[in-house]
Amino acid sequence: MDFIPQYLFNGLVVGCSYALIAVGLTAIFGLMEIANFAHGQFYMLGAFFAYWLTRIAGLDFWTGLAASVIGVMLVGVLLERTLFRFLRGASLSSSVLATIALSIFLENLALNIWGPRPQKIISPFESGGIELLGIFTTPDRLSMLFLTFLMVLILHVCLRHTHTGKAIRATFQQREAAALVGINIDHLYTLTFAVGAGLAALAGVLLGTIFVVQPSMGGVATLKAFIVVTLGGASSFAGGIAGGLLLGLAESFGAIIAPSYKDAVGFILVILVLLYKPNGLFGKRT
């Protein structure tokens, strides 16, 4: 029983990382209805940009973080204009094929530029573990928790109280009607794609200080993001966050029962949720 708080905290930290990556995919998948199997590569690119800017170009961590996120957002805009624009309205199989190809291309591009060696982003905090009320953690993990909650708050405020946020919500609800009332869907798509990519990049930078950075890190991130989006509901930001936290906690506690089946926990959860709520926990009923 002593260790329950440790498992709970472990699960929250991992859940936050899943939520951060998945919210970006929710925006892209939910709004544009494109199954973006390259989403995890934005996470990878964010981490590599931060590695390059801080370790090689010598920028401080926070400037590097901001520059990396903006850099990946620009990559997102470029990809949206040159590739994803043409996938709108295409069949699911077309978007799956195209984005898998993009994912392979980006991973191998990173491999060629930065090599296979696992790298670390130097954290702005003291390295090493800390003990808080019997729970072992690190300053990086705590900052990730804090920044995730901050991002969720910012997202909530923007969606609720800004003109653009309302336009995004309207387009989520009913795209054609939103276009009819004068919302510029094209600009909105580009913005949403950029924000989605940026959120994944932020997760990449933060997790790159906690774990390691290497070209193969994007694939797993994509898989987890899709599990979370399926769990939470494809067009719900709240679903993305709740799904991420739920998956993180389930995996953490699942590790007590059957450690080598920890990954299966996510898939079992998806099956159970879809049996009773086919559109996800927070998804719209169609």
Partner: protein, 380 residues
């Protein structure tokens, strides 16, 4: 009569000269399946460096009667299906006469069936899962000590260092990791150990806190790990972050340069069960280390030594057999005795290598020091 050859004669002999010239230097196609992408790509790149050095030495010395090796490498990514496809391509399309690889035991286990089917000898370094040489495949030659051999050699010393009986395992989820949990359990229990926890994590897993929490709850005196590349880095950092005080041992990348660059002195105190250490005092090793440093600007680790040994065994078989055919090479490898950086490498009837030295290392000041050595005798 003019003594000068006629122009027409000279022109007519050109095709003959061409044919003669092309017959003089035929490339010898040798293939390798290594993980060049994916989770262990960094270690795969290092194996390749060692392998290329051995090929260079052979080619620079003139090859075999002027024929030089054309070394063809395909990416297996440590994914069995991809490794099999790579081996198929090398053998059927590129007509390689010998194969090296495939790094991960699961991939080697799949690829060796391809070697058997096409009757092409395959030399495997790195892969330590014992069952590979128990499948009756006369085309597979494993130059590494198995996990069981390493466990039997060092179990007693490990228990001495651990200072207690409780042992836990923290291993990667593949044939290699799982066989380490089995093999070391057998050997350590023989020395009086009690296994209190076995945690198995996926190679793509980055957050190991839950597994480490499981281990901590069992309060082991020693933890045996199996981890390559980024897994070795993350497991070390997270064990330190969670303030785990147990004595740590591991097979895998715990003495790699990329490991030390990432974790520095956090790796200190970890005991490595290693097939190779660069500081081994052996003339062949000293020469290998010098050549590797000259070629790549860094000290070789066990992965580099394995790649070097794989190709050295193949090049030596070319020289002793004098032939470039798979069956002749297979027979030459089976009877071979090759000086390697860890000692002489011979093979038993099952294709299992023996005769070399293995090491229990200790990380000190981000370097591997030798804590104990053992000679691997001919297995049954």
């Amino acid at each position: 009569m003019s003594k000068r050859p006629r122009t027409s004669t000279m022109i007519a002999s050109l095709p003959l000269l061409f044919t003669a010239w092309s017959c003089m230097a035929e490339p010898i196609h040798i293939g390798a399946v290594y993980p060049l992408t994916g989770a262990v790509a960094e270690d795969g790149a290092v194996v390749l460096k060692g392998a290329k050095l051995a090929v260079k030495i052979f080619n620079d010395a003139g090859g075999l009667n002027g024929d030089k090796i054309d070394f063809l490498v395909e990416d297996g990514a440590c994914i069995p299906a991809q490794s099999v496809a790579s081996a198929e391509k090398l053998i059927s399309a590129n007509k390689v006469v010998a194969l090296a690889g495939a790094f991960c035991s699961s991939s080697t286990g799949a690829t060796m069936d391809v070697a058997l089917r096409y009757k092409v000898p395959m030399v495997a370094g790195i892969s330590t899962a014992p069952n590979l040489t128990e499948r009756g495949n006369r085309y597979l030659f494993r130059i590494q000590a198995t996990s069981q051999m390493l466990a039997d050699a060092f179990a007693s010393k490990m228990m001495q260092i651990a200072g207690g009986k409780k042992v836990a395992f923290l291993v990667v989820n593949d044939d290699w990791g799982r066989s380490i949990a089995t093999c070391y359990k057998t050997s350590l229990e023989r020395e009086g150990a009690q296994v209190v926890s076995t945690q198995i994590f996926d190679t793509n897993e980055t957050d190991l806190f839950s597994y480490i929490t499981n281990v901590k709850r069992a309060e082991p005196d020693a933890i045996m790990m199996a981890a390559n590349t980024q897994n070795a880095i993350t497991v070390t950092e997270q064990l330190r972050q969670m303030n785990v005080k147990s004595k740590l041992f591991g097979e895998g990348s715990f003495t790699a340069k990329s490991y030390y660059d990432a974790v520095g002195k956090k790796g200190d105190g970890i005991g490595g069960l290693m097939p190779y250490i660069s500081s081994f005092d052996n003339p062949v090793n000293k020469q290998f280390v010098e050549m590797y440093k000259a070629a790549y600007g860094e000290i070789p680790n066990n992965n580099a030594a394995a790649g070097f040994e794989e190709l050295t065994i193949i090049t030596n078989a070319l020289k002793t057999s004098g032939k470039e055919e798979p069956e002749a090479l297979r027979d030459a490898i089976a009877k071979s005795s090759t000086p390697g950086p860890s000692g002489e490498i011979k093979f038993n009837e099952k294709g299992q290598g023996y005769g070399f030295t293995v090491f229990l290392s200790q990380n000190e000041e981000a370097k591997a020091e030798v804590a104990a050595t053992a000679q691997i005798d001919k297995p049954n």
